[in-house]
């Protein structure tokens, strides 16, 4: 579904939906050519928006001829989309999302479930040095932890690549977060419902910066320890933030979590376009 903004030059002679063109002409406009574009005296926009695809839906009226009802765009095929041959001959467009959450909540597993490549990670065994510093509580049997950051790469289509960065789990690597989050579309905050307090820092961080977030409750051992509503209440999460259950080991589950996030991002972008 492509969003088409209001035409900036909608004041021109606009045919309504009832006025079907007759032989390419509008009733009531005899031989005058159909004016597509701004009325005289207004500057035509340099580039039509959206630049590549024809408008597929129109809201209210527009200044062009009535559009044939556009089919719902099919999923972008793996090969280069035919209507956008100009976009990429060279490198793909990189996009980025961030996976965050408390220590030992499954960020690395999440990334590795969907990544095309083995996640490039910098993991080290927990050693006696980290004992007492990295408190993983009593619920985890985890023996490694991400000491820097890890990331995966998903080739979405021929010219789009999605990078998924896991933030370092420990507070002492917080300085890396700003770099990781700059330019990110949004963030998945992974939650272990048995250790809710671990994710407060991440939630606060993204809320402060106005970054789109989806809260994903990881199902350890394949089941939820608490209901999603309980988690939402306990974390006092806004109603516009989705709370979903995820099994970080399952590619499908991870995929739907990312889609839930992208939905939030898209909604936000559409609201922004509508405002401007």
């Amino acid at each position: 579904m492509a969003y088409v903004p209001f035409s900036p030059h909608g004041a021109g002679p606009a045919p309504t939906a009832n006025q079907q063109p007759v032989n390419g002409q509008h009733p009531g406009y005899s031989n005058a050519p159909i004016v597509v574009g701004p009325p005289p005296g207004r500057q035509a926009p340099a580039v039509a928006y959206p630049p590549q695809s024809p408008p597929q839906q129109h809201y209210g009226y527009h200044s062009g001829p009535p559009l044939a009802p556009a089919p719902i765009p099919a999923p972008v095929p793996a090969s280069a989309p035919p209507q956008q041959p100009v976009v990429q001959a060279g490198p793909p467009i990189p996009m980025k999302i961030v996976v965050s959450g408390g220590f030992g909540v499954g960020k690395t597993t999440f990334v590795s479930s969907i990544s095309d490549i083995p996640p490039l990670t910098t993991e080290a065994s927990m050693t006696s040095v980290s004992r007492g510093v990295d408190n993983r509580g009593e619920v985890s049997t985890k023996t490694t932890t991400t000491v820097a950051m890890d990331f995966g790469r998903v080739a979405v289509d021929s010219s789009l690549v999605l990078y998924i960065f896991g933030t370092p789990g420990q507070d002492r690597f917080g300085f890396m977060w700003d770099d990781l989050v700059t330019g990110a579309l949004g963030a998945v905050v992974l939650v272990d419902s048995r250790r809710l307090d671990d994710c407060f820092a991440a939630l606060d961080y993204f809320e402060d910066r106005g970054i789109p977030v989806v809260v994903a409750v990881n199902q350890f051992d394949g089941q939820l320890a608490h209901s999603l509503d309980d988690v939402r209440t306990a974390l006092s999460i806004d109603t516009d933030v989705p709370v979903v259950a995820v099994d970080a080991r399952s590619k499908d589950s991870v995929k739907w979590t990312i889609l839930a996030l992208l939905d939030v991002v898209l909604n936000r972008a559409m609201v922004q376009v509508r405002r401007t």
């Binding site: 579904m1 492509a2 969003y3 959206p50 630049p51 590549q52 695809s53 765009p73 999923p75 972008v76 793996a78 989309p81 060279g90 490198p91 793909p92 467009i93 990189p94 996009m95 980025k96 590795s112 969907i114 095309d116 490549i117 083995p118 490039l120 990670t121 910098t122 993991e123 080290a124 490694t144 820097a148 950051m149 990331f151 790469r153 998903v154 979405v156 289509d157 789009l160 690549v161 999605l162 990078y163 960065f165 770099d179 700059t182 330019g183 990110a184 579309l185 789109p212 590619k251 995929k255 990312i258 889609l259 992208l262 939905d263 991002v265 898209l266 972008a269 559409m270 922004q272 376009v273």
Partner: protein, 140 residues
Amino acid sequence: MDDPGVPNRDVFRPFLPTAPRVHHDVGSRQVGDAPSGVRAYLITGGRASAPLAYETILVPKSRVDGSTETFERARIMQVCRSGDALSVAELAARLRLPIGVVRVLASDLVNAGLLSAHSSENTSSDVTLLTRLIHGVRAL
């Protein structure tokens, strides 16, 4: 991205002195040897920040060989030249250098006209791009 020379392990450990040796045979040189022991701040000349994002994709410019570059810069050029369009983060993982170091050096190479940097501005407000992304992810 199959590197035949890389042992099939899920985890790279770039910064650790005990890291297993990972070889990427690029050209005539072995890239990815054990860390040299040179401090990161010496490699970057003390600089810590650069305008490149972690996901920025680096591509060598044609008709530039970069053979006059030395040390880490030369290794970055070699890996970039190996074919895949790699991001700053992937470069760092392949070279087993801290990502902050690679970012500074790559930014130097971009400024010197050896690499071109490809990133996308304002992706989060580009409805067309986001729609494509959603369709693509759904089809995974």
